[in-house]
């Protein structure tokens, strides 16, 4: 009975909202379908080939690409920084622990948007304008519009790629051989060292043999034009640095808490077995701390991704900004917001699904 009443109420509310929406849109002569996606977007989007003539659909897809550019580089940065700071908070070195605490307590307690503003308005915008770009060490080209860093440049690709693959295969084989040897003799395996050494030796040899097919390209500037290297908009770097450092402060707290959550008895048992400090961390503490930390860290990845929408406030053209600009140009807001939400939701649900699978795998086997 309650169920019927509640359901009826929910359906009723939704119906009224829907009814109003359709009626109001129709009355104001606004389209109620998604055909407008083929209309021209009407704005030029900085840092891309989207001009005002491109369709809204292309603009939105380009926005999603830019969102991913923030995610792909941001997640590794925030993970590394977060884990390092989290471990540093537990350091026995007073100064290191205090520095990590200062980092966490400062960033965690201010709004992410403010961190982004500081990165953009205080760090990036005061940089020299594009026609007077700075070139520190001759390796970077830095202006308030665009920052370029040295990157790889391939002259000749195919055969060197095969050598890279071969080097990776050999490295894996050598690591496997080292592990076997360790199982048989108990001597230290150093398999990472051996594998990396083999890879570098083979890849380096091939690189020399093939006449240096991959070079490091250093960006150079002439007037306002930057050539070579890998460049990104100043607003992109501001977003990337600010948001990953902000999220890292949350990850650091998770990492610290997870290490502390491993029962003291585990440390004692490892000590009583004469394991060294590193062995204890590697075989006893970290595997258990990781099980505790991974789900909340993935949750932080999700928060990071959702927070990339804050780029709208400093004009970096990720998907939210594109949708916002399309709305500003007189395109129907309800449809665009719905699409925007669907894009984020698809991403979030995918991550949640992965998280659930992970949780199932990570659970301790018990009865």
């Amino acid at each position: 009975m309650i169920q019927v009443v509640a359901l009826a109420a929910i359906v009723g509310v939704l119906y009224v909202l829907w009814f109003n929406l359709i009626n109001n849109l129709k009355r104001q002569g606004i389209t109620t379908n998604f055909a407008f996606l083929d209309d021209p977007i009407g704005v030029n989007i900085a840092g891309s080939d989207i001009s005002s003539g491109a369709s809204i659909q292309r603009g939105l897809l380009n926005g999603i690409k830019n969102t991913f550019a923030l995610v792909v580089f941001g997640l590794p940065i925030l993970t590394v920084v977060g884990v390092l700071v989290g471990i540093a908070r537990l350091s026995t070195n007073w100064l290191v622990a205090k520095a990590a605490t200062l980092y966490v307590e400062t960033l965690r307690n201010i709004p992410p948007l403010l961190v982004i503003f500081i990165a953009f308005y205080v760090l990036v915008l005061p940089l020299p304008p594009p026609n007077q770009a700075a070139t520190p060490l001759g390796l970077f080209v830095i202006s308030n519009l665009r920052i370029s860093v040295p990157w790889f440049e391939t002259v000749e690709q195919t055969s060197f790629t095969w050598f890279l693959v071969a080097a990776a295969v050999v490295a894996v084989a050598i690591m496997w051989w080292r592990s076997r040897l360790y199982d048989q003799t108990g001597q230290p395996h150093h398999r990472i060292l051996w594998g990396a050494g083999a890879f570098v030796a083979i890849a380096g040899g091939a690189w020399l043999l093939l006449g240096r097919p991959v070079r490091i390209s250093v960006p150079t500037v002439e007037g306002r034009v930057v050539t070579g290297g890998l460049g990104g908009l100043g607003s992109y770097f501001a977003m990337l640095i600010a948001l990953s450092l902000y999220t890292a402060s949350h990850v650091a707290e998770i990492v610290r808490g997870s290490i502390q959550a491993v029962p003291k008895g585990q440390t004692e048992a490892a000590n009583a077995l004469a394991l060294s400090g590193f062995q204890r961390l590697r075989h006893v503490i970290l595997p258990q701390a990781m099980r505790i930390a991974i789900p909340p860290i993935i949750n932080q990845y999700l928060n990071y991704t959702k927070n990339t929408s804050l780029a709208i406030a400093i004009g970096y053209a990720e998907v939210t900004l594109i949708a916002f600009q399309a709305i500003g140009n007189g395109n129907p807001a309800p449809q665009l917001i719905l699409l925007l939400m669907a894009a984020y939701l698809a991403f979030s649900l995918t991550i949640s699904l992965i998280l659930n699978l992970f949780n199932r795998r990570l659970r301790y086997v018990g009865r």
Partner: protein, 419 residues
């Protein structure tokens, strides 16, 4: 077989006194905490240099920065475009809030004292010094803000607020227990009074701005979201599949999208979904969007509280013959809500920080006011963001930091998670 090895102590000589302490001498401390190994030494030198550099940069900044922009725009940052001839309204609201907070804190101490007396234990209040130690960041921020004022009235308001807080505290401590039980009612009445003072006299909340808007959106957002969040949490626990499905769908949908999309919905699409007779102002629509967003998170917080109630509680209640709804209302809910308090504070902090996003939908909160002030003709293009943004940062930092510390204290006191 070796027997008895306990030699009498006197054979080993007198025991040296005093006993060794856990804490270290300064030189030992430096050796162990700073220079234990070669890499510790390296880190210490590196980080030490970093600290010295940061301290020098900070001092140079404080000496060289020109804070005129804050002096000129202080009112804009605090209350936005609130009519300047009506500024007595926020002042009175502030004083009432001081009274309210003092009263609640005092009442808490009063009842703690009574409980201790009943149990025959000693009770001593920590005193004002402890209050200052707990809330120094907020007090320091108030002093900093006052130092930017150009008239005397803000000082008077601050003094009056402090006095009201102290008076409320005294009242809360001394009123008889019978009255004290209703102090939360008095608090709500005071809150409503403060709200009415702000909203009457032709100043609707469309004119609100600055830090006042951030605080208003946070408090009102949580207050509006709480009932909905509670319903959603109950729905999620419900055995009725349709209710459960609807709740889960709503919660997961909202948690999967950024707040900005909801703000855009509130600003640009909500109007279409409401009848013409009901067209709320932009601030109201944004507030609705925030409440809808926050409800999903509060539902999850409350669900965490439900999970913290041991199943034995429900079984015990059922064994006493209580019907299901009474079990929920009298046994589960009180325990669950108590267990959620720290997480609720966390949610409050999180929303407080998130209210800065309203800049995107053209509301004038403190961050938007700071941005607006740097585009005034007098202050344009002088790199003054480095003055305004840290100030805004402090406004959030003192609040979040203090609240999260208080939440941790509360967590310890409630013994959440260690039952």
């Amino acid at each position: 077989m070796t027997l008895d090895d306990t030699r009498p102590a006197e054979l080993l000589g007198p025991a040296p006194e005093p006993p060794p302490e856990e804490d270290l001498s300064p030189s030992e401390w430096v050796r162990i905490r700073l220079f234990a190994t070669w890499y510790d030494t390296l880190f210490t030198l590196l980080f030490g240099a970093g600290f010295v550099w940061a301290a020098r940069a900070l001092i140079r900044y404080l000496i060289s920065a020109d804070f005129t922009i804050l002096r000129v725009n202080l009112a804009l940052l605090m209350v936005g475009r609130f009519p300047r001839d009506q500024l007595w309204r926020p002042a009175v609201a502030l004083i009432l809030t001081g009274l309210l907070l003092g009263l609640l804190a005092g009442a808490a101490i009063g009842s703690a004292r009574d409980r201790a007396a009943e149990a025959g234990e000693e009770f001593s209040w920590d005193g004002w010094l402890a209050v200052v130690r707990r809330f120094w960041p907020i007090l320091a921020f108030i002093v900093l803000t006052l130092s930017f004022t150009q008239t005397v009235s803000p000082w008077l308001v601050a003094a009056a607020t402090l006095a009201a807080g102290a008076f409320g505290h005294w009242m809360g401590r001394t009123i008889p227990a019978g009255v004290r039980r209703y102090s939360w009612l008095i608090a709500i009445a005071l809150l409503v009074a403060a709200f009415l003072v702000l909203i009457t006299g032709g100043v609707g909340w469309e004119d609100w701005g600055g830090l006042q808007l951030n605080i208003f959106l946070t408090v009102a957002g949580i207050a509006l979201a709480f009932p909905l969040g509670l319903l959603l949490a109950l729905g999620r626990r419900s055995s009725l599949p349709a209710l459960q499905g609807a709740s889960v769908t709503y919660i997961e949908f909202i948690r999967g999208v950024p707040l900005i999309t909801l703000l855009l919905l509130g600003a640009y699409a909500l109007g279409f979904m409401l009848p013409d007779s009901l067209q709320p102002s932009r601030t109201t629509r944004i507030l609705i969007a925030i409440a809808l967003f926050e409800a999903a998170y509060i539902a999850e917080v409350v669900r965490g509280g439900f999970n913290a109630v041991p199943p034995g509680q429900v079984e015990a209640s059922q064994a006493l013959g209580m019907p299901p709804w009474k079990t929920t209302r009298l046994i589960v809910l009180p325990q669950a809500l108590r267990a959620t308090i720290p997480a609720m504070v966390g949610q409050f902090i999180s929303l407080y920080k998130d209210t800065t996003l309203v800049i995107v939908v053209a509301l004038l909160d403190i961050l938007a006011a700071a941005q607006a002030s740097t585009s005034q003709p007098d202050f344009l293009a002088q790199g003054l963001h480095r003055v305004t943004l840290p100030f805004v940062g402090l406004a959030f930092w003192v609040g979040s930091y203090t609240m999260s510390r208080e939440a941790r204290r509360l967590e310890k006191r409630l013994g959440v998670g260690e039952r």
